[in-house]
């Protein structure tokens, strides 16, 4: 019950923060939904509050989120190539479990945005590709920060 409460608080915080940013930037709410979906995924596995691992994850999640968004774009223009990239990414994320906890953590990091992209296809209509990419990365960073901070407070 407690972890579900913390989780939903993280989802709400991520969604509202990103929604406010999207409204300010004058774009649709897709990045906000992406942030909420990422927060749902992150809430399933409590953070271990190890500073080094946390910083590494914080730095890498937006990049992986951007990668997932690019796979999403590929789906729109070249669906077969998008499917191949998706299958390879997911299989790789599982295969990395061969390399103990570190490998498994990287695997989860790859799988989460790919899966989120499948659940919440992101179409950011900004008219400026750079802004769209920035918003997607920001969604990843906000989802992680909100989830981490709330889990830390609740611990």
């Amino acid at each position: 019950m407690k972890s579900a409460l913390v989780g939903i608080a993280g989802v709400l915080a991520s969604f509202l923060a990103m929604y406010a940013i999207c409204a300010r930037a004058g774009v649709n709410a897709s990045p906000a939904i992406l942030a909420a979906a990422l927060a749902v995924g992150l809430a399933r596995r409590p953070e271990n509050f190890d500073l080094r691992a946390t910083l590494a994850k914080f730095a890498s999640l937006p990049i992986v989120a951007l990668g997932a968004a690019l796979v999403g774009l590929t789906f729109r223009s070249l669906p077969v190539l998008g499917a191949i990239l998706f299958c390879a990414g997911m299989a790789l994320s599982i295969w990395l479990r061969n390399f103990d906890k570190g490998g498994a953590a990287i695997g989860r990091l790859i799988a989460l945005p790919l899966l989120t992209m499948l659940v919440v296809p992101v179409h950011v209509d900004t008219g400026h590709p750079g802004l769209g990419a920035l918003l997607v990365m920001l969604a990843g960073a906000i989802a992680f920060a909100a989830t981490y901070l709330l889990q830390r407070i609740a611990a």
Partner: protein, 433 residues
Amino acid sequence: MTIATRMALQMLVALALAFTVGMLAFPLHWSWVVLTAFIVCSGAVGRGEAIYKGLLRVAGAIGGTVVAAAISPVVPSNGAVDATIIFVVLFFGMWLRTINYAYWAACATLIFALLQGSQGASIGPLFAIRVACIVVGALCAIAATWFVFPMRTRLLVRKRVAEARAALREVRSGSDRDLRHHLAQLERVAPPVRLHRAVFGARGETAHPAALIDETQARLRTAIERRKVRVYVSVAVSLDGYIDDRSDQRLVLSSPEDLADMRLAREQCDALLVGAETVRRDNPSLRSPNAARVTVTESGELDPALRFFDGSARTIVLTGHEGAEKLRTRLGDRAEIVAIEQFEPAAIIAALADCGLHSLFVEGGGRILTAFLAAGAFDRLRLAIAPFFVGDAAAPRLVNAASFLNDAKHRLTLRGVRALGDIAVLEYEHPRT
């Protein structure tokens, strides 16, 4: 091939199948097929797990559809109301997911319905497509786990049970393995085999995989519980550190006040432990209300005529497997004979926990005290110091030479100092790790 590589290949095939079938049969909703294939295949090591997860996913989707159909006429299509309900349903999904994945699947379908409803879409035909996509996705995943480097659930259960039992054996001999990890590993493979037993029964088999899991989990839980046995070590010494002299008569170190206080401490425990040598030499009756008497013997040389076996209290003798039968014959119903793997505190404590005892009062003699104190296998140490010297180098000391966990760098915590008559009683606490 490792399990992770096998699972990666299964996932690759499952997703490739799902993409192919999904894009051809459901061009607008292929993502539902792919998502289901991923969810069902993800983490499914054995074939039974994939079937079980597929059933949960389909059942959840159908359940969610039914609920959505029931509530959609009464929920007004309003952005704020929809958003509130979506987050409430999401919360329940996150909460109930820990109980069963089907709840999460149902909530996800319900959220999808609310999202569709808020966009003014008709949900009836769409939900038939959704359920069809989910069934196809689940079948893709099951096909992959069934044909691509498959792992039979029965073999997987045996592997997990063997690993758990190996960990249990190591715990019995004193090493520290993560029993909760094995409990969780077994719990992961348990649901499909339990469902199989519930639907098809045990079919007269002596050991259905579900029964193997249940039995091993019970042992693991016992092993985890046994760590909760509290150990209280009590010893009285002379000023020069001796617990006895070399005369035939037992040396009285305690004062009447100390003995009365020790009696009270004994009454807080449900087992009193002394070594077999002390039983033979001092012939103690070792009585305390509601407490079992326990001794440990390697040789098995115990005379049934000793007061220890007078039948006035529950009596337990811990011994090796080889001598257990001989002792059972010799002592008859005077004592319970429990075989242990090794004569170490961890094994002694584990065996007593198996006997349903949760607090142990350790009284001696030298070998037992040395073993428990050296291993740090105690929660409290009560040290009574008598105001005189023995002065005989050959007399038994508090402890024998050993490697002690609590050395100068790992000190005990002094919890109290009391004067009971002319005896000083020191109470130390050991933070068990």
